[in-house]
Amino acid sequence: MKPEDEDLTRRAIAGEREALALVWERERSWLTALVWSRCLDRELARDLIQEGALILVDRIAELREPAALRGWLKRSLLNRLNDELRRRLRSPEAASPVDPQFLSAPPVVADDGIWAQALAELPVDLREPMVLRGIDGLGIQEIAEILELPITTVETRLVRARRNLRERVDRMRALEDGGRRTCGDGR
């Protein structure tokens, strides 16, 4: 964290409302992206980020070190996310078959195509830095700080993630093309 960022966080911890609002503006993008990279569920990420705002308002005074802010926010929200995902796994609707008469209802999740599918198939440890890299202005050093990893590890994971993603996209495209050709041959 840069010295000016630490100073702002210190003022927010001391109860300065304006500083708190600026801290939140600074932190909310990566926090939302990180939660989303774990669950790939926009609605859930949106709910949790609101909880993150509440946690910040209610409990920032408990922080002793400004440098601990990001780790604290991250752990608070990822714990909440894990609780929610566990709750969903236990709920009866998790693996419920669907009556055909309801199939005409609009899909809950929009189809973003093969890129979204390829991203969803990436292992989480590769997907996290990849998604964070999608935020303009967030450098590798900051990503390393957020993920609490050495810079070299983040760089290696990014390279592996891009290669992995590219291979998956190419493979899905090849499958799609193969399917189209097969359909065309049958005509």
């Binding site: 926009r42 669907v98 450098g139 891009r162 996209v169």
Partner: protein
């Protein structure tokens, strides 16, 4: 293609590369033309990723910081009690017209679906019923005799009722639920649907 070159291109696309780095990429591209292809692929991957992450970041920008919560114990008890009363009130309204009856019509008795249709129609006329949203299936399981399938679902009706006070259900730092009184000024005035 080396990992080092991939890293250089990664930094180049993020605008983090210095002149020497660009020179290195150019030199590599002269020796191996497939470098340019790789650069193009990386640029495209980056653009696609930003397209996917963009709406999530829009959501983040919409997450405003709430005002500090007041949690006087007495107020919390009163709020939970009020929530309970609201729940009772809604249950009463549903029982009066919104809950489908599981039995078939007998004689002059109306079927559950007809009750519901009347409720919706009258609600629309009075302005309390706005939309009926698609049904949400909760569970489907085999019927006991093995003849059919029992489908459990939620009917979702968007209704409006003007109130001077509303409560939101929130959780404290220990995860315990409590109702928080919301004042009108805290809520957005623009329509979201």
């Amino acid at each position: 293609m080396t990992e080092e070159l991939d890293l250089l291109m990664e930094r180049a696309l993020a605008g983090e590369l210095d002149g020497a780095g660009w020179d290195l990429i150019e030199a590599k591209a002269r020796l191996a033309p497939e470098t340019l292809r790789r650069f193009f692929d990386l640029a495209r991957d980056r653009a696609e990723l930003q397209r996917l992450v963009g709406p999530v970041l829009d959501d983040a920008r919409g997450a405003a910081l709430p005002s500090a919560r007041r949690r006087a114990p007495l107020a919390r008890v009163a709020a939970v009690a009020a929530l309970f009363l609201i729940a009772l009130g809604l249950g009463f309204l549903q029982g009066r017209g919104g809950r489908p009856e599981p039995t078939a019509p007998q004689g002059d008795r109306l079927a559950a679906g007809e009750h519901l249709a009347r409720y919706l129609e009258q609600g629309r006329e009075e302005g309390s019923v706005l939309y009926e949203l698609p049904i949400e299936v909760v569970e489907a399981r085999g019927e006991e005799k093995g003849v059919g399938i029992d489908v459990f679902y939620l009917r979702r009706i968007l209704e409006r009722r003007r109130s001077e006070e509303v409560l939101t259900l929130e959780r404290d730092e220990l995860g315990r639920p409590y109702g928080r009184l919301v004042v009108a000024g805290e809520l957005p005035r623009e329509r979201s649907f």
